[in-house]
Symmetry: C3
Subunit: 666 residues, 3 copies
């Protein structure tokens, strides 16, 4: 969502401050270059102080004041913080956590979003807000709720119980089908009726894996349906596009959630040490609504904090680099949480743009730098768009749910994926992180690590794409589970094996077994739950051999042609420094083989974003993210768009947090 | 339980798979040499899908099919996994943990085994199974339930509350007696009626020690009574011997539990690094039903795992060594959990013999090796029996319960005992681990470490045995508590002091005090809660003196003749490397003094099991357990039973995981 | 409370033992020099075994027996351990913890002290005890209850809910005022009625800071009111002074609690490694009831312990040093917990003076040493009193409550304060730790570290004192919060800034930012949440400058004259070894500037306590606390009071744990 400009925004809570403070904030925002605010997401009690007494007038007026001052509004629905009239005396409406503890009024997300009364009141307040502000010229977009399922995961309340059992009935039709799908005959858990299927509350040992995973999927589906409901109401009164401020750790299926929304947005509070996690988000959210600019809806101008702890403030210069990276990677907005420090509540220490007493904060200078960059870059970025990558990495919140059910030694999908992703940055490979259901056409190289369940739909799509020339690297931890979170009974990796031309000889955990693999000239320890292969037929080549451990001589990596493309199986995760090198060699090898051209020779810590100008020329946005400066090799002569000077082919230096835009003729 | 053969078995779940899979499994088991399966323990919902609709036909048929194929059956009662018709809508039947959380249906052991309705239904299903299969020729033995109290400890449900109060009434007669025994006047906890005595639920600080320990003893007694009930029912319909698959970490009094069962069995998933824990089990379970072969009812062919985590796979060769060690140490059966990998449930990653898709697993080769060894050893082992050891170490689940109540810095009875035991292996001393009530006659040397309460019965028995020539080493942490888990008021170690000829001058924790002890030429730091002695009379000799710390000059180890034997007091635990050496010297010293002959000069990591042939000759089974190989000194010329060659006196080498059987004439 | 002697005491539980044991204990106490016992605090069920059946006769008799033997009594009210007749069948009377768990009968503090029935029964038993023993000659003092709020913090029972809401109503008058004060409009938490304001039970994320802090203040006020009630009842029947055995970790406002009591007392079980924490207590408790001797009501003769764990026994000699330090620093009593080891309950392993079987323990020798010292020192200490310090450090349990609500990375007020305090010991500066409301007149130098809220009352008092010549060092972490636990909206440190002549340019956390400060010739890393200053006007001098980090050139320490004194702002905490040095330089600098004379040149680990004799001369009590011995420089010639010899000016050596008393003429 760009709307003909790049947005630079902040969260504003006019309902918490006097009119006088608001007027000063508006003036200060103008001065700082803030051109959009997000507001309303926690304001339910202001809008409806008593059940049914609704008045949206306050926000109508604020939106007007802002608009008069050149500041547009992302309006929110206030559903994450139901007022006291909803919760007081109604424990049955509250969220119930996995230990069975009923939440009290306080904090946020305390009411169950599946409670019928909540849904009714949420629909009403949403409708009234949409009616009142939906066509105001200042309202440029909508955000639903706030960070769905950030603080809560599965709810075990009785409303959820009933919905869960109905959801199961729709999914399985007959209880016998559920029993069969889940293998409930293990431990005599067999159910006779859907009303008997429990929620995953406390038990002496572990619940059935299918029950746990399905409950996660149920939760993710329900919250997405709530988003659908809200969006449908808003659309009756407003043409402004709708989004949600999501993130990877939340208990959501982001692909499903954004399916019915208009543009994608995320919140990120990664510290500089985790800059790769921030870039991972940009590369993923760009692909949740392809072709539509995503937003960084929240990030700190300096540091995140709550009463419990505070993070490290960003170094000076880093926020500018973050903003430039986001815009270059396809963001239409870059927004701070929050404009004015909270004076009360639970997050008072959190970094802001101005303090609770109205002065610039430690982050203020960074905001000015980001704004200067935005102004400078706006024309060139609006006249270009991020290149489509040639390399795709599949992201799946369903895979995340599977790994939560089956965490082994606290394996964490997010951490595994971020680590895997880091290597693409190190190799200077431009990449898309693509949701499981995303289009593959156009990519040359596909990675699907940590994807326990490869759905028939995905498999068919991937195979078609391989047949047309793609190179698919599947694994590690890919393909060993069914869609019901059980073990395949036909083959270790089920149908995938035949296509990949392998037989899974063994599956077992490699830690502590002295397992070592050799591939691409590198010898490295192997780790994690692994699948060990034998080639099935002459067409399969072993590219990674187990050199030591329990199964020497067998393969941990293979490849096989399929149509005009190739399927590469990676059955284990090389680890340690040598493992890192092995994986980089593997990625580099297949990037070469697949003919990946969108890459650059760049020092680590500096990012190159290739974009395509409306004039057809190539643009490289180069940003130093680590504060150490770096160099990048320009493949051919170009023009430094900011200075108007020529940029010679060869090494180009960038200073700490510096950005450069180089146009190179096609 | 040997029944004229050595059993090699696996757990089978025919109720989870098709008839076709079953037939393939039977064929594969035959091929692998599996001659017994254990089954039925989780099959309640198959046998009784609706309350009262019971049909055992399925297992009758499977037992028959197996038997036709030479495979016998250990049949189980299915009580660890009550079906949904028992738990649904009945929270009052569920287990309640120490935090007061009521369990949901799911996992296993979720229903309270003291609930009257559970007992009634458990009795009925047990009777019906016993009726149906009790006299089938394939049924070679019974297992009650599965791993009693593995996932749950004390239950705080209202059924247990009532039983607890009745149990107390039987134990104490009058509430005044309980108050006096427990010293409830501390903190005004005095009760007026048994109905007032609480279960050990949440309190602001610690419960009375007696209440906590007695609740553990109550729990252990109740579950043993449940086992008694089940056994009695089965015996009405079957002559096959009855066992249970127990283990040390479970919340059980194993001695009491097995009193009314026919043979002993345990489950062990120790990794190779904890091989000593596995051997400890063999040495203990052999002595739970003396003269009757025990079974290793469950062990992994490769690695244990659940959805939460997985262990390290065993090295190739180790499973064979485990099997040989078990058979040599007196096992009649060595069985895997499980034959076919689960496709669903909570333990899918767990090591198995064949995979969910029917192929040999990483552990399969180990199973074949174990079977080859079994076949080779069967004749010689059936024609001999483990020697009775000359050294006994007392094991007490009551002591475990005491240490759970009073864990100091997380002291753990199991860990303390295993560490203590390790030194006997290192010294090549053949040993029995003997339950508290076990017969002492025949032993030369007795150790009773970590036994807070020395009962009058035990004391009298030990004293009689000492008087006849035994050497008894009491301590550390032995004797400082009464049977009610209070402190003696007559002397620090109560009556034991007089017999040992010591006065306990002080008791105090030695960590951090710089305490150092000297004994047997070694100086070592002292640790743990310690009793510090002065000799009481000239007949007591100090053998360990405190050289530094708060009480220099006093004794931590003493000895005194009693009849033809000797009582050695060990008041403190020497620690660190020097402490290890000191303890080895101490053990060695008293082994010499007691004239212990059943020992061998063997390198660490290799096990020597002395057995006595029916021909009266000595057999040594020698097994390398650490995969590094080793040597043992043969005291005299013998015959290598496997090769038929002479084995010269002196050093005999064994290769990694190799086993040898040497017959030496008496 | 000295009553013309120095008390040396122990806790006695005659209700737990036979008459015979009591008589032996009395004889042994006489022999050991114990001249006071504390008793009765857990004896409710002995005094009132059935509701309303009260008989205090037992204690009347014991008090008499003791008194006949020269032993006086501190009598306690038995309210920490309500009998079973109060708790059985009454969950609504029990304490409910922050997770909502209802306590069971057991341990202590299990009944909510705000429950109306509890209050009624507590008043009655207190009255009956006071009536019975209040005028006995042996009763020298009273202790209320025992360690209020040691095991429990905020209670969430329904009695507390109602009281909380009434308390809020009294505090705020109208719900609108509460909403405004707490800023409940954040997250739509706005309440419509006081009955809607929840207790701080479980929520998905953090509660409002004001709610959490106010609940803590409410809890602290309620328990103090309970103490007031008890004291008022006792005073109707007894003239003996009343105290409570408190400590810093308990959930109390000690200043408020002791306001209506007669003398101060604390319990301390600090190990030698934390000797500074013990001295901190002495320096604080001396100032809770200025001019009145405090008591060390409980300390271990050797080590603290419970069933869960035990501490390290004190080195020989250390208890004597503790006793001398306490008496020198103003203690009127030094008492052990406990005389005779418990035979039952939950604390059997705890160090005592005699064992459960009546023998001297490992700590007995220490008791004799302490008694010898007491006897030697009594005349000289009773004829003198501790000097009033020139340096004050403000202590605030309200500040502790604020930091509990907002712990950042587990910041701990106690730990921060103890660390800060340590430096005064190292510098040989004699100091008072003064409660927030304590009188400042007479001090030359004041430190107020870690005081988030500087109340107007405190500010005005401090300013008046500064105007008259005091030097006030404010910070770190001082002044950034309002009394409602919100952020000031006028300036970062609110009103304090104007007086200190600074503008808080930024507030932010310095960890990880490379922040370095320079002051007093030392360069050190800066840490914690920091306020960074610019001088506001020429009168403000920068004394500490930020040399590196995000805000180089700004100040972290400033000073400004105010009247005849000076306000020093310290915005950050220097850390590491260099930070320690910097702080020592800073303290030393301002001690010089303020003309602090009560200091000594003493090696670390040795304590100098300046006292003033009734004859006007100076007395120095010198005690080695670290067991390493040390030296102190006598500023002028004196007399060694113990030996009667001259003590020359200059270096005086003290041996390990030795104490000396030097009289120097004024």
């Amino acid at each position: 969502m760009t709307n003909g400009k790049l947005y630079h925004g902040a969260s504003l809570y006019p309902e918490l401050w006097s009119r006088d403070v608001l007027m000063r904030d508006i003036a200060a925002m103008k001065e700082a270059g803030i051109n959009v605010v997000r507001m309303g997401e926690f304001a339910w009690s202001v809008l409806e102080p008593e059940e049914g007494r609704i008045d949206i007038g306050f926000f109508v007026e604020v939106i007007g004041l802002l608009y008069e001052n050149g500041i547009e509004t992302v309006m929110c629905t206030p559903t994450p913080t139901p007022p006291i009239w909803m919760s007081h005396g109604h424990p049955e409406r509250m969220h119930v956590n996995e230990q069975g503890t009923v939440m009290n009024h306080g904090a946020r997300q305390h009411v169950c979003t599946n409670n019928a009364y909540f849904r009714e009141r949420a629909a009403l307040i949403t409708e009234r807000i949409a009616q009142a502000v939906g066509r105001l010229p200042g309202v440029v977009a909508w955000q639903l709720d706030n960070e769905f399922k950030a603080h809560v995961a599965d709810c075990l309340c009785s409303s959820c119980k009933e919905l869960w059992q109905r959801w199961l009935e729709r999914r399985y039709g007959a209880i016998e089908a559920l029993n069969e799908a889940w293998g409930t005959n293990v431990w005599s858990q067999t159910y006779r009726r859907f009303e008997e299927v429990p929620q995953p509350g406390p038990t002496p040992f572990l619940h059935n894996s299918s029950l746990r995973t399905m409950y996660r999927l149920f939760t993710m589906e329900q919250i997405a349906e709530f988003a659908d409901e809200q969006a449908a109401i808003i659309r009756r009164y407003s043409a402004a596009p709708i989004t949600h401020n999501s993130n990877i750790p939340f208990h959501l299926d982001n692909e499903r959630l954004f399916r019915n929304l208009d543009f994608a947005a995320f919140d990120s509070y990664a510290s500089q040490a985790n800059a790769h996690a921030y870039l991972f988000n940009c590369d993923l959210w760009r692909n949740l609504k392809p072709g539509e600019a995503f937003w960084v809806m929240e990030t700190s101008p300096s540091f995140a904090a709550s009463l419990e702890s505070y993070a490290t403030p960003h170094p000076n210069g880093y926020v500018k680099a973050e903003a430039v990276a986001a815009y270059a990677l396809g963001a239409g907005g870059f927004c701070y949480w929050l404009w004015r420090q909270q004076r009360s509540g639970s997050e008072q220490p959190h970094g802001s743009v101005v303090s609770a007493w109205g002065e610039p904060t430690i982050g203020y200078r960074s905001v000015l730098e980001a704004e200067a960059a935005r102004r400078e870059l706006e024309p060139v970025l609006l006249a270009s768009r991020p290149a489509r990558a040639e390399v795709a990495i599949t992201y799946s919140d369903r895979a995340k749910a599977f790994l939560q059910t089956e965490p082994h030694r606290k394996l964490n999908y997010r951490g595994l994926m971020n680590d895997f992703y880091k290597r693409f940055l190190a190799l200077g490979l431009y990449r898309d992180v693509v949701p499981e259901g995303g289009e593959l056409t156009g990519y040359k190289l596909l990675f699907t690590p940590f994807l326990p369940y490869v759905s028939p739909e995905f498999l068919q799509r991937a195979l078609r794409w391989v047949a047309e020339g793609g190179v698919w690297v599947a694994g590690p931890l890919t393909g060993g589970r069914t869609g019901e979170h059980t073990i395949p009974t036909d083959a270790g990796l089920s149908e995938l094996e035949a296509w990949a031309g392998v037989k899974t000889v063994y599956t077992y955990p490699m830690e502590g077994t002295g397992s070592v693999g050799e591939a691409f000239g590198v010898t490295a320890p192997l780790s994690l739950w692994s699948a060990v292969f034998a080639p099935a037929g002459r067409e399969t080549a072993v590219v990674g051999t187990i050199a030591a451990g329990l199964t020497p001589g067998l393969a941990f990596a293979t490849e096989r042609l399929h149509g005009r493309g190739k399927i590469v199986m990676l059955g284990s995760l090389p680890c340690g420094e040598a493992g890192d090198l092995l994986l980089q060699k593997l990625i580099g090898h297949y990037a070469d083989e697949a003919g990946v051209a969108l890459r650059s020779d760049v020092t680590p810590g500096t990012l190159v974003v290739p974009r395509t100008g409306d004039d057809g020329n190539d643009l490289w946005v180069i940003i130093n993210m680590d504060g150490l400066g770096g160099t990048v090799t320009l493949p051919r002569e170009g023009l430094d768009v900011m200075t108007g000077r020529k940029a010679a082919a060869g090494a180009l230096a960038v200073a700490a947090y510096e950005y450069r835009v180089i146009r190179m003729e096609k």
